[in-house]
């Protein structure tokens, strides 16, 4: 799927959770949201993106996606 769209969607999720003062909770929230609502092929693509060194994700989103990969 269109990578730029997936990146945008992921960062939009991150923008909501970034107001959470506890960074750990914010990252967990992003991870859970993507896990709950993204179809597996979308998750796979965003994980591949970060694993290949993609840099356009917000920091907390990138952290969440890495946890998603585990």
């Amino acid at each position: 799927m269109d990578k730029s769209n997936l990146i945008k969607m992921a960062n939009d999720i991150g923008s909501f959770f970034k107001s959470e003062p506890d960074r750990t909770l914010a990252i967990a929230g992003i991870e859970q949201h993507i896990r709950n609502f993204w179809e597996p092929r979308m998750r796979k693509e965003i994980v591949e993106y970060i694993e290949k060194g993609g840099t356009d994700l917000m920091d907390i989103v990138a952290e969440a996606v890495k946890k998603l990969a585990k």
Partner: protein, 950 residues
């Protein structure tokens, strides 16, 4: 005229709790205090002649036909305006009363055309009945004197006529317009003999303020105001109670029939959502159901450039099933999916999602709520624990402060809008948060917003959070409620967040465009003005922060204790009739019926046991994901029941691209809609008049949909889904939708107590309905939130990425209009086009002047995604810098302009904020010309379809 064979009690029921006992014609009658003598008599089975009284209106006492004698009272009081009293003794029939009534009837008849035998109301006329009841045998006054018999008939309204020659000036129409509808379009002009009903300033109905709700027609006791369908077809002979197929109010109607012909829709006075009222769509706009454009034979084709080929049901189903099987065999089982519709019944949507999960073997099912109220589901589930509104519609009658955010009830939910206006006339305060001056805002003698927060589109979260800032920092929160009923840690964290200086009204005034003091005043009113209720619509949800605003609204209600009882609450106004139901029925790709995630093993096991298959534990594709996957080449087959994604979804060129990439698009609809123009299989659908089922409205009310005519294509929609499932190898064997509901109830805690028998007995049921609440649940979260403790969540304002600049300096926002509905497939095929026959661009006079645009000019509206052309309307409803249009007509291309921005949580599209450039033009846009050509080609392929035997 009211519905056939209904008892009219003359005056409304009294809500008083204490009762009195009186004697009427020697019979002892006990009734609620405050009732009229007329009502008491009617409830005892004693009919008092009447003309100006009807039980939908307050007593008026003008016709003098209902006079009675009361022991100890002077004269002959009108029974409609005389309240009952303990020990009262009433006589309704004696010689003196009979003489008086005959004299009055004689005067009425002396100025009434005696054409009863050919009158459209013959057999259904209260004047005729009453005159017969009083035994009038002679009219001593001839027609030689002055009379009104030659008064000109007004036929301007497409649905009803106004014949003043037959008017008895009882004022029922005027009172219905005021009390029931709240428009005040009618008045009695003149005095004495000159008195006459006048729409607005003696205009005809179409040029007046009349909104054509039909309340006046229903109230009229003669043929003065008469449905044209009755004039054309005669008085109906039987009726069936069913539920409207338009908006989320879900009005109950009596479908009045002659055989299988629908003659008239009369709102059911026992309807628990609408209490006998309706709007122009529900009452009158049913002609689409038998429109010549209906397609009643299945059709197939291999390519969308091919002519359609009419086939049998069996061949069409086999063709579709074979295509889907081939696609799954070629591209994998995740390469197909389906879309359910909020225009379909609960049973139909349940069956489609079951077919996809169990028959297709994946969770690629989504519903049109994706593009409207999916943020409501997310926001309310996460804060309150349930994806639904909290109240009944009637609750508004106990509200002291009503906040309307991003909704336009008088256009989008008109029957509820009338109820809200009634409460406002009683003195409730009104706060409107909307970029546009909706009707509720406008200064009028009847309704006026106390505060209009005319914000810039896209800044809802900033405003809602600023309201919270005021409530917390000024000590207006209901701390006791929040500490007892809500999660305290989340409440404390939220208070800290909203109290930050950047969330103050002063800090956000510039970005929102709302004066800080107005925001403060509105917050104080909501928090301290008594029962505070919030109503919201798509102006909240269809934003990149749609879910955040829903959360913010829930936060406000919890912080002020406005939750859990009558008069308060959080109330999403659903766009289509079954938005709530289609969401309830497991139409989202991540949830089973009852909002339970597919990854929940216990839930999934229940469904696997009931359905006899192994089910996927991963969420499926949402609608926009399906489009992306289609363009990506991994999604190839789609089954669409009752939706028109090729018109309704944003960035239409992207949608059309995706649809063209599909190898098999199956559309089930009553018309060849825009989506069907890209289809390979067309399965003819059945209208709401042709099937059984249920709809669930915005207040969680499950109401009956009942078949009143044979399906034109031979099958109800659920039967078609069942056939497709069987052809795909997943067996379904229902014989009636009641069996589908029984299965739903067996698998869904919120629906466990729902049966067709109970719905018929109660009229409707508000879920949850189960052992804990066998009669349903009018008010949610009364003692405890569904999730236990209410959860406050943080709502940081994140500006949309859709920004204005020098190239796109204006913001376009979209909405609805009273006479049209959604994509217009139904209402465009009715006389409602008399009010609205194209989508137009509303623009503020200042912007129009700068751009050199005059009212009615063709204007090009260009965004980063596309361009379209429409006529301009210059109006001060808009604020400078913001333009507005509707999306009811496919060729206006409103969604050519909208972008793929969407809500962060749900991907609900950001229809409400698009940066555009507007300029005067002379011809349709390039897209419009291309699409017109494509559409013409498709209609030609339909016209020249191959029929059996060709």
């Amino acid at each position: 005229m009211s519905a056939n064979n209904e008892i009219d009690y003359g005056t409304p029921v009294s809500s008083a709790e204490n009762q009195v006992t009186l004697e009427i014609d020697g019979h002892s009658v006990t009734i609620n205090a405050g009732s009229s003598v007329m009502r008491a008599a009617a409830e005892a089975g004693i009919s008092i002649p009447k003309l100006c009284a009807t039980d939908s209106l307050e007593p008026f006492g003008s016709c003098r036909m209902c006079l009675v004698q009361i022991e100890g009272a002077r004269g002959y009081p009108a029974s409609c305006t005389t309240p009952v009293a303990e020990g009262m003794k009433v006589c309704t029939q004696n010689d003196k009363l009979a003489n008086i009534r005959r004299g009055i009837a004689e005067l009425y008849i002396s100025d009434h055309p005696l054409d009863c035998l050919t009158c459209a109301a013959n057999g259904d006329c209260e004047l005729q009945d009453t005159v017969g009841q009083v035994g009038l045998r002679e009219v001593r006054y001839g027609f030689e004197g002055d009379n009104h018999l030659d008064a000109e008939k007004d036929t301007s309204n497409p649905y009803f006529t106004f014949d003043p020659a037959k008017c008895i000036v009882c004022s029922r129409c005027v009172r219905a317009c005021e009390e029931t509808q709240g428009t005040f379009a009618l008045t009695i002009d003149g005095r004495g003999f000159e008195s006459k009903v006048s729409p607005s300033q003696n205009q005809d109905f179409m040029d007046s303020e009349c909104v054509s709700c039909g309340a006046c027609v229903q109230a009229c006791p003669t043929a003065t105001l008469m449905e044209k369908s009755v004039i054309d077809n005669g008085v109906p002979e039987h009726s069936t109670i069913t539920t409207c197929a338009y908006c989320g109010v879900g009005c109950s109607f009596k479908a009045e029939m002659k055989g299988e012909q629908l003659v008239r829709m009369v709102p059911d006075k026992n309807g628990q959502a609408n209490h006998g009222h309706s709007c122009v769509k529900g009452r009158f706009a049913f002609g689409y159901a038998t429109h010549k454009d209906r397609i009643t034979t299945p059709m197939v084709r291999d390519k969308i450039s091919d002519a359609w080929r009419e086939v049998s049901w069996e061949e069409a189903i086999t063709f579709a099933a074979d295509k889907l099987k081939h696609i799954q065999a070629t591209y994998g089982k995740y390469s197909v999916g389906g879309i359910t519709s909020s225009r379909c019944t609960n049973e139909e949507t349940y069956l489609v999602q079951k077919l996809i999960r169990a028959g297709f073997g994946n969770n690629n099912v989504d519903t049109c709520a994706r593009v409207c109220h999916s943020p409501t589901g997310y926001g309310l589930k996460n804060t309150f624990g349930e994806s639904s509104g909290t109240q009944t519609f009637d609750s508004v009658m106990k509200s002291d402060v009503i906040m309307v955010i991003g909704a336009n009830p008088t256009d989008g939910h008109p029957v509820f809008g009338s109820m809200m206006k009634r409460r406002l006339r009683q003195g409730a305060k009104l706060i409107v948060v909307d970029p546009r001056s909706i009707d509720l805002v406008r200064n009028s003698p009847h309704v006026k917003a106390d505060y209009h927060l005319k914000l810039r589109p896209g800044t809802n979260v900033a405003v809602v959070t600023a309201l919270a800032h005021v409530i917390v920092t000024e000590g207006l929160a209901d701390e006791a409620f929040a500490l007892e009923r809500c999660d305290v840690e989340s409440f404390d964290k939220w208070k800290t967040f909203v109290s930050l200086p950047q969330n103050s009204p002063e800090a956000v005034a510039e970005v929102t465009g709302v004066d800080a003091e107005t925001m403060r005043a509105a917050a104080r009113l909501y928090a301290t003005g008594g029962n505070g209720a919030i109503y919201y619509g798509l102006g909240v949800t269809e934003h990149s922060q749609g879910s955040t605003t829903v959360i913010g609204i829930a936060n406000l209600a919890m912080a002020t204790g406005n939750i859990g009882f009558d008069g308060v609450g959080v109330n999403p106004l659903r766009g289509q009739n079954n938005v709530q139901g289609s969401c309830d029925m497991g139409s989202f790709p991540h949830e089973f019926v009852g909002y339970r995630h597919v990854s929940d093993t216990e839930t999934r096991s229940q469904f696997e046991a009931a359905w006899g298959v192994s089910l996927e534990s991963e969420p499926g594709l949402r609608i926009p994901n399906m489009f992306a996957a289609a363009i990506d080449g991994t999604f190839k087959g789609l089954y669409v029941q009752g939706e028109d994604i090729a018109q309704s979804d944003p960035d239409i060129q992207h949608v059309h691209h995706a649809l063209r990439e599909l190898e098999c698009l199956i559309v089930q609809d009553i018309f060849l809609n825009e989506t069907a123009k890209f289809a390979h299989v067309f399965l003819p659908g059945s209208s709401f008049l042709e099937k059984n089922g249920t709809f669930t409205n915005a207040e969680r009310r499950i109401s009956p949909v009942r078949k009143v005519m044979t399906p034109m294509a031979g099958k109800e929609d659920w039967e078609v889904t069942q056939d497709l499932s069987n052809a795909l190898g997943y067996p379904m064997n229902y014989s009636h939708p009641s069996e589908i509901m029984a299965e739903i109830a067996s698998l869904t805690p919120q629906f466990a107590g729902v049966t067709y028998e109970k719905i018929d007995a109660m009229g409707s049921i508000q879920w949850p309905c189960n052992d804990e609440a066998p009669d349903g649940t009018p008010i949610m979260h009364a003692d405890e939130f569904v999730r236990g403790k209410g959860r406050f969540m943080l709502t940081e304002y994140i500006p949309t990425q859709e920004r204005t600049n020098s190239k796109y300096p204006l913001i376009l926002t979209t909405g609805r209009i009273l006479s049209q509905y959604n994509v217009g497939a139904q209402t465009r095929r009715t006389e409602n086009v008399a009010w609205h026959d194209e989508d137009r661009l509303e623009i503020h006079p200042h912007d129009a002047e700068v751009l050199g645009i005059a009212d009615g000019d063709w204007v090009g509206v260009k965004s980063r995604t596309g361009e379209t052309v429409m006529h301009a309307i210059i109006t001060e409803r808009m604020q400078p810098g913001v333009v507005y249009t509707t999306f009811h007509f496919p060729h206006s291309g409103a969604n050519v302009i909208t972008t793929d921005n969407s809500d962060w949580a749900t991907n609900c599209p950001e229809y409400k904020v698009t940066a555009v450039h507007v300029a005067k033009v002379a011809q349709p846009s390039e897209w419009q010309q291309k699409y017109q050509s494509f559409s013409d080609q498709q209609l030609s392929l339909l016209e020249n379809r191959i029929v059996a035997g060709d």
